[in-house]
């Protein structure tokens, strides 16, 4: 007869208490997706984060790392929203996504407005490579088209994403892969050391995240309209009265009303420049 296996059992730490966590009800059902542009949604979210530290000399040491997570999450949300909306209004982007597959569950639950969001579920936007991959896969825009300003903003944002990685997965400690990504030679002495983010550095991180959103937003506005004309996806009449219904879709998607002090250029001005560049050539 086989000997009955006896497992070693000994409670080395304290007992756990019963938990009643249920995820239902944790999400706000009253929430309605706003018509705000993705960039303004980003500003609205981050404006709240910017207020979390009001005294540069007095805040809990872990707080900046957590705010950083919130910030990168706001950037990721921006990407999800702008791509989703572009797939809905931009013919070239829609065509690019036609071959992507969706889960059956998403297909039966989401309405058409939100459906593209499901396609992005497996995508990450935390890091320049992830962003590049997603812009290519969903919008058909490749890195070769990026401006040097955008590349500069992406490089900086990648650094922030490495810090985020340390915060999420290593409780703030610098891992070897992060150190390699940030430049091993300059960072080797910080290996396995915890993040220590002061007020001014956190402000710099906010700026980097703001920059990436501003640069991407500007770049996509130009690039998508440029492609729309060069691939003849819409019959532009080069008269605002006739083109307004189409142009306003793009204008509303990208224009910001929440980034003071600079006022968003009016639709008329943005269209005028569009007409000047393309309309006059035709």
């Amino acid at each position: 007869m086989a000997k009955k296996k006896i497992n070693y059992k000994y409670r080395i730490n304290d007992y756990s208490k019963s938990s009643k966590l249920e995820t239902q009800g944790l999400f706000d059902t009253d929430f309605k997706e706003s018509n705000m542009s993705p960039i303004d949604t980003f500003f609205e979210k981050t404006t709240e984060l910017n207020k979390l530290i009001a005294d540069p000399d007095d805040f809990p040491g872990q707080l900046p790392g957590l705010i950083l997570l919130g910030y990168v999450s706001a950037v990721e949300s921006y990407f999800r929203k702008i791509i989703r909306k572009l797939i809905l209004i931009d013919t070239a982007s829609k065509r690019k996504c036609e071959k992507h597959s969706l889960t059956y569950g998403a297909a039966i639950i989401y309405d058409s407005e939100m459906l593209p969001e499901a396609m992005l579920e497996n995508s990450s936007f935390a890091g320049s490579e992830n962003i590049e991959k997603s812009l290519k896969n969903f919008l058909g825009i490749t890195k070769g088209d990026y401006s040097s300003d955008l590349n500069g903003a992406l490089d900086q944002f990648s650094k922030v994403c490495q810090l985020r990685h340390c915060s999420v997965h290593r409780f703030g400690r610098l891992g070897s892969n992060n150190a390699i990504a940030l430049g091993l030679e300059d960072n080797k002495e910080y290996l396995e050391k915890p993040l220590k983010i002061g007020f001014n550095t956190l402000q710099e991180i906010f700026l980097v995240c703001n920059n990436i959103v501003k640069e991407i937003n500007n770049f996509l506005f130009e690039k998508i309209l440029d492609r729309n004309v060069s691939e003849e996806l819409y019959g532009w009449k080069w008269d605002l009265r006739k083109d307004k219904n189409e142009f306003i879709k793009y204008y509303n998607l990208f224009a910001s009303e929440k980034n003071p002090p600079r006022q968003a250029p009016s639709l008329k001005k943005a269209y005028e420049q569009f007409r000047k560049i393309f309309g006059d050539q035709i």
Binding site: T47, A54, S147, S148, N151, Q203, P260
Partner: protein, 567 residues
């Protein structure tokens, strides 16, 4: 007599700026004593070096001389010369482009590559071409990029250049040129590299400077005294600094200044009394540009007596230096109160030294010793005064274990204006002032703490002048703050360069009549109009009474103002 005087004043020998003089004149005018020979050696020998001195001390002069020497003589290293005086034109990018530092980086490297082209052209090495892999670095493209960057315009068409031009490619090009031209060593003269108004660019510049140093390449940069060089460049280890600013106390100081007159063949000795020339040597405080300026102003002055002329010239000079120093806060408004308080401190130093001299019989006092307080605002304040050449930084002395005194000589023109060397006499006796200046320095300096030099109120006043949040009005918490802690909105920083472009006709250094006429009868409203209008000369001649001569004078004054503002 007046005509002769004007002819004398118009001599090119009075040209104060090496960047406006040709190389033959520079060679002829060079004062070739041991001190300056040592500077030439430092510039040509191996190793990264910083040539240090405030404006007008001859840094450009020395660099251009060394460059010419190397250009003409194959036994010296291969040399490249480039000036970064227009760095401030790139300042607006810091406010509108996340890529500003990369643009600046490319601008610096692009200018160095253009100096390679210049050398190839000037050295008549027309058969030398860059390797194929550097086809993207063609001269025309680089010139266009540099010019566009200095105009602060959009640079998206140069993305390839910005991405591809690296420090490594510059090193490879320079080293391969040296091999082709059979020179073992290379010196890079990087002039006007103080970059003190844009700390972000300054750090970037000295990173490039440090990386350009190889076994073969020795970079040399000219900077202001007290200018920081970024956190990664270690003075003494990575780079050796040396002074181009001659110490007023050296034995050969007077003889050196005499040489300037001799070498430039200035015929001032007959027109200006000997003692006055001697006093001007000291009033110029080791800055040849000021010396030439004082001589010229004396010749132009309409004062009735020598004494009156001397006093007029000194007070004009003092006014000029003060104005230039205080103009710093237009470029760095966040330091306005620190800069202003710095001038109060300087005036107190001058007063205290002048008072100390009243009681001396056979010695003189020209030194102030200020107790070290490890206070960042005080350090910043002293740096501005040293950088502007108002204080000459002498070595630090320790008194006991914990007390350290930083010692400085204040600018002599200010001491003279305060009659610090007049032995309490009522009248003007140039001879006795010279005798006083030549006395031996008393053993100890006037010792002061910041608390004694400044009132509590003045110290209290010294803070960073940062604009509040434009959305909610909350004051900023730190200099580096980018977003308001109260309302969360992005804070707005202004480009000082763009502020300069907004200066109006009323701000120009021209007569009230000219201001009125230009405002009423032309379309020129701001400095930007003068610089961007295709033909500002014609526009300037529109007002009745402003002809070709006056319009040129006014235009030159605008250019001068911009240059001073942005340098």
């Amino acid at each position: 007599m007046r005509a002769e005087m004007n002819e004398l004043i118009d001599q090119k020998e009075f040209e104060e700026r090496a960047d406006y003089s040709d190389s033959e004149d520079l060679k002829k005018w060079n004062v070739d004593n041991e001190y300056f020979q040592a500077i030439q050696n430092k510039l040509i020998q191996k190793g990264a070096k910083l040539i240090v001195g405030p404006r007008g001390t001859g840094k450009t002069h020395q660099m251009r001389l060394a460059y010419d020497k190397c250009l003409k003589n194959k036994k010296y290293p291969l040399a490249f010369y480039t000036s970064f005086s227009k760095y401030y034109h790139l300042e607006p990018f810091l406010f509108k482009s996340p890529n500003a530092k990369k643009i600046f980086h490319t601008w610096v490297l692009g200018k160095i590559i253009l100096s390679c082209y210049k050398l190839v052209d000037e050295g008549e090495y027309s058969d030398i071409v860059f390797d194929d892999e550097y086809d993207f670095l063609n001269k025309k493209l680089l010139e266009e990029f540099v010019s566009q960057a200095e105009k602060g315009t959009a640079l998206s068409q140069y993305d390839e250049l910005i991405t591809k031009l690296t420090i490594n490619s510059v090193i490879k090009i320079i080293e391969s040129l040296a091999i082709k031209l059979k020179r073992k060593k290379v010196v890079l003269f990087l002039d006007d590299a103080a970059l003190s108004l844009t700390p972000d660019y300054m750090i970037e510049f000295f990173d490039i400077f440090r990386s350009l140093k190889t076994v073969r390449i020795s970079p040399k940069a000219s900077v202001y005294p007290g200018t920081p060089s970024g956190p990664r460049l270690h003075i003494g280890h990575d780079v050796e600094p040396f002074q181009a600013w001659i110490d007023i106390e050296t034995d050969y100081y007077s003889a050196f200044m005499d040489d300037i007159i001799e070498k430039r063949s200035l015929t001032v000795k007959t027109a200006i009394p000997k003692d006055i020339i001697e006093l001007f040597k000291y009033a110029s405080f080791g800055v040849p540009r000021f010396f030439l300026n004082l001589l010229r102003r004396f010749l132009q002055d309409s004062g009735k007596s020598t004494q009156q002329k001397f006093n007029n010239v000194i007070s004009e000079q003092v006014k000029l230096i003060k104005g230039e120093y205080l103009s710093l806060y237009q470029k760095m408004p966040q330091y306005k109160s620190i800069i202003e308080t710095g001038f109060y401190l300087f005036e107190t130093i001058v007063d205290d030294i002048a008072k100390a001299n009243k009681n001396l019989q056979n010695e003189k006092q020209i030194l102030i010793g200020i107790e070290d307080e490890q206070n960042i605002s005080f350090e910043r304040m002293m740096r501005f005064l040293i950088e502007a050449g108002l204080l000459y930084d002498k070595e630090t002395v320790s008194h006991g274990e914990s007390r350290k005194y930083h010692r400085y000589i204040p600018h002599f023109a200010f001491l003279m204006q305060k009659r610090a060397f007049s032995s309490g006499k009522r009248g003007f006796d140039s001879g006795s002032i010279i005798e006083f200046i030549n006395r031996k320095q008393i053993k100890h300096p006037v010792r002061r703490s910041f608390g004694k030099l400044l009132s509590d109120e003045q110290i209290e006043h010294m803070k960073l002048d940062l604009p509040p949040c434009s959305n909610c009005g909350a004051p900023r918490l730190t200099e580096e703050q980018k977003f308001c802690h109260n309302c969360g909105h992005e804070l707005v920083d202004k480009s000082a360069f763009e502020e300069c472009m907004k200066l109006t006709v009323d701000d120009l250094p021209i007569s009230d009549w000219q201001k009125r006429k230009i405002k009423e009868e032309s379309n020129l409203k701001t400095v930007s109009d003068f610089l961007t209008m295709p033909d500002p000369g014609t526009e300037l001649r529109k007002p009745h009474g402003i002809g070709p001569v006056r319009s040129e004078q006014i235009f030159n004054k605008v250019q001068q103002l911009v240059e001073e503002f942005l340098s």
